[in-house]
């Protein structure tokens, strides 16, 4: 726990160590695996924010697509990392990404069918108006 706090604070207020700007410049000019992971994490967080805060159920579905895409980006980035560190034919991540896309397509079809059925019965697409199971 102590380590976690120290590390996050160090991230925000890192004292100007010699060579730090050099390291940042290196990171910007030559983005590596960690940059892809950070981008994917941010996409994931934006998606979770959409799921938690929006009222429109269709936008919530779009946010779920964002979350799945963040996971796909991680898979592809790690595939490239594995290809560059060891086996040139490592494509397991890409194969898995295809399955994620298939499941996302099925989920979108079912979810939008549900939205249509819901709209037909309740005349609303706002999640806080859909409170049939709430007492």
């Amino acid at each position: 726990m102590n380590n976690l706090i120290a590390s996050t604070f160090a991230l925000v207020w890192q004292e100007a160590a010699p060579g730090r700007w050099q390291a940042i410049r290196q990171g910007v000019l030559e983005p590596d695996l960690s940059k892809f992971l950070v981008i994917a994490a941010l996409l994931f967080i934006i998606g979770v924010a959409g799921v938690l805060t929006r009222r429109n159920i269709i936008v919530i579905f779009m946010s779920i697509e964002l979350i799945l895409n963040a996971a796909n980006l991680n898979f592809i980035a790690f595939t490239r990392y594995l290809q560059d560190t060891g086996n040139l034919n490592a494509v397991a991540g890409q194969v898995f990404t295809i399955f994620v896309i298939v499941v996302a397509a099925a989920e979108a079809a079912i979810g939008l069918g549900l939205v249509i059925a819901l709209y037909r019965n309740k005349e609303t697409i706002f999640v806080d108006k859909i409170d049939l199971l709430k007492w």
Binding site: V28, P31, I39, I46, T53, I98, I116
Partner: protein, 215 residues
């Protein structure tokens, strides 16, 4: 694994485009605008896939997501009523307390992610530097020579990627059963969405029941 030169420049362009479009997706008032911004995000992520050498997945992403799923989304948006949000009569977000709670949760989540990525990536680098310092340079070299040995395209300015071949071969060699399960899943999804989206009259006709209106 590092991207250099123009690849690095395009990485930043597409990464920032994806993040900005994703933010606008969840902030847009109009659901159609949300869908268009989501399409921008998906295309930017597909460009990142191309940068990572996954050309086939990038194509699948654009064909399936942008060509299929997003068209479905736009259809549904136009079937249901989204006028209320546009006129400003309806709230865009949940109640302030809920939004504040999720903001706190998300800040904690992002700090946890950054911590995990820093620690995990350092550990990964240490492991790979210890165990395969020589192998890494060799693998990068092999990758480069393989790319130079690819067949040139008809225009002569680029080379034909072998990514599709590799993915297809390992899909059928190592993932044949999941592939079949995925096709069954798609079939179930098709039947299920047709079942869910039919009207009361269609439901009564197929189930041989009387509707409430006595039709």
């Amino acid at each position: 694994m590092t991207l250099t030169g123009w690849e690095a420049a395009f990485f930043w362009v597409f990464a920032i485009a994806a993040l900005v479009a994703a933010l606008l997706t969840i902030l847009a008032h109009n659901a159609v605008h949300s869908a268009l911004f989501l399409i921008s995000t998906l295309v930017a992520v597909a460009a990142l896939f191309v940068l990572l050498g996954a050309e086939f997945i990038a194509g699948v992403q654009i064909l399936v997501y942008v060509g299929g799923v997003m068209v479905l989304f736009l259809f549904v948006i136009m079937l249901v009523n989204v006028g209320a949000e546009e006129r400003g009569g309806e709230m865009l977000f949940n109640r302030p307390a809920q939004v504040a709670t999720s903001a706190v949760f998300l800040v904690l989540l992002s700090l946890g992610f950054i911590y995990a990525i820093r620690q995990g990536y350092e550990g990964l680098l240490i492991r790979d530097n210890l165990s395969m310092q020589g192998q890494r340079a060799e693998a990068a070299n092999r990758r480069r020579t393989r790319q130079q040995n690819l067949r040139p395209a008809a225009t002569g300015t680029s080379r034909i990627s072998e990514d599709t071949q590799l993915v297809g071969a390992s899909l059928y060699r190592f993932a044949a059963l999941p592939f079949e399960i995925a096709s069954v899943l798609l079939l179930v999804a098709i039947v299920g969405s047709v079942m869910l989206a039919r009207t009361a009259r269609q439901e009564a006709a197929t189930d041989d029941l009387e509707t409430a209106e006595g039709e």
